[in-house]
């Protein structure tokens, strides 16, 4: 904990306990999202799915970076993470990003998106089913989970920025950096849903975190 750093924040009129609650909930949301995006990524397969997988991977790694960047600030302000990971997960500031049900109207359909490949009869049937699933819009439920998760994150960091603005400069800058990336994540997924036109460009490296990396103890491109 930084004594004077904390004093400055308190004197600026911030309710530090409330801010810490928000930061811990935000850190939990990042940590749980990282977990759930790992599952979503694994289930984004085939032609369309593989394209989506790349974006999920960037968002997934950047969400992990957000967790890493938030934790030092929590301890600096005198807070801490819950000892029990179950308690921590229950605090998450956003709903869990569960893998969607199998196709809404067809419980036999694959929950995966995109096309599979392979030569056996079984895999050819899988290709056919997956193609039909994509044609029926099976990719949309997964994208909907992703885009809603990002929208929730935007609300969370807008709220923290509003609270810290002009008072807790370090938390504000950190939250703003994360907010910048969450806004980009939302745009990636909503553009995939066809809410375009698209103005985004790929990250130079997976999980690059162009805004948040300067807050990381070990940036992704450390050598």
């Amino acid at each position: 904990m930084g004594k004077v750093a904390l004093q400055m924040v308190e004197q600026a009129g911030i309710d530090v306990k409330e801010l810490l609650d928000k930061l811990v909930c935000a850190a939990s949301a990042e940590f749980t999202t990282y977990y759930y995006y790992t599952i979503l990524r694994a289930n984004a397969i085939g032609l369309e799915g593989e394209g989506l997988k790349e974006i999920i991977e960037d968002a997934r790694l950047e969400d992990r970076n957000h967790f890493e960047a938030l934790v030092p600030r929590i301890y600096e302000l005198g807070g801490e993470l819950p000892r029990d990971i179950r308690d921590f997960a229950n605090l998450a500031a956003c709903p869990d990003a569960y893998l969607p049900d199998r196709h809404h109207n067809n419980s036999d359909a694959t929950p995966r998106v995109g096309f599979t490949s392979g030569g056996s009869d079984e895999s050819q049937t899988a290709v056919l089913e997956a193609k039909q699933a994509v044609e029926q819009g099976d990719i949309r439920p997964l994208l909907q989970v992703l885009v809603e998760a990002e929208r929730c994150a935007i609300r969370v960091y807008s709220d923290i920025c509003n609270m810290a603005f002009g008072k807790d400069h370090r938390t504000y800058e950190l939250s703003l950096a994360i907010l910048n990336e969450e806004i980009e994540h939302e745009a990636w997924f909503s553009e995939f849903l066809g809410e375009g036109p698209s103005g985004h460009f790929r990250r130079g490296a997976p999980g690059e975190s162009p805004y948040t990396s300067r807050f990381l103890v070990v940036p992704h491109n450390h050598s």
Partner: protein, 122 residues
């Protein structure tokens, strides 16, 4: 059944919410673009208070974990739309509808209809 005054119109400007207590019952009053609504004041997710909930275009957003509800019906609109309820039916419990209450404005007072006479009027 009777209407109970819970606030004045000026207490709750458009785009804001206010948590009030009616005989110990928490009720969230919402002013969405000049229209008033009243909903159960505890979120269906973890039964935490909806005080400081945000409203925007017919939807309130719980400040704790950002579940969202339709202010007219109290229905959960998020995360219901993305939860895999077939695969994980226990999640249904988290998606409970918020109870709604009739509201009226009488001479700049916001009044909510509750199901029984308030104790203070007895």
């Amino acid at each position: 059944m009777c209407y109970v005054t819970v606030a004045t119109v000026d207490d709750i400007p458009p785009g804001t919410t206010k948590l009030v207590q009616v005989e110990g019952l928490p009720i969230l009053i919402v002013n969405d673009r000049g229209q008033f609504y009243a909903l159960q004041g505890l979120c269906g997710h973890q039964k935490l208070s909806l005080a400081k909930a945000m409203v925007w275009q017919g939807i309130i957003d719980c400040p704790w974990h950002h579940f969202q509800y339709d202010i007219r019906t109290g229905e959960n609109v998020y995360p219901r739309c993305v939860y895999p309820l077939e695969a994980l039916p226990h999640l249904h419990q988290q998606l409970e509808r918020l109870r709604t209450y009739p509201v009226r404005i009488v001479e700049q007072h916001v009044q909510v209809k509750i199901e029984h006479e308030p104790l203070s009027n007895k």
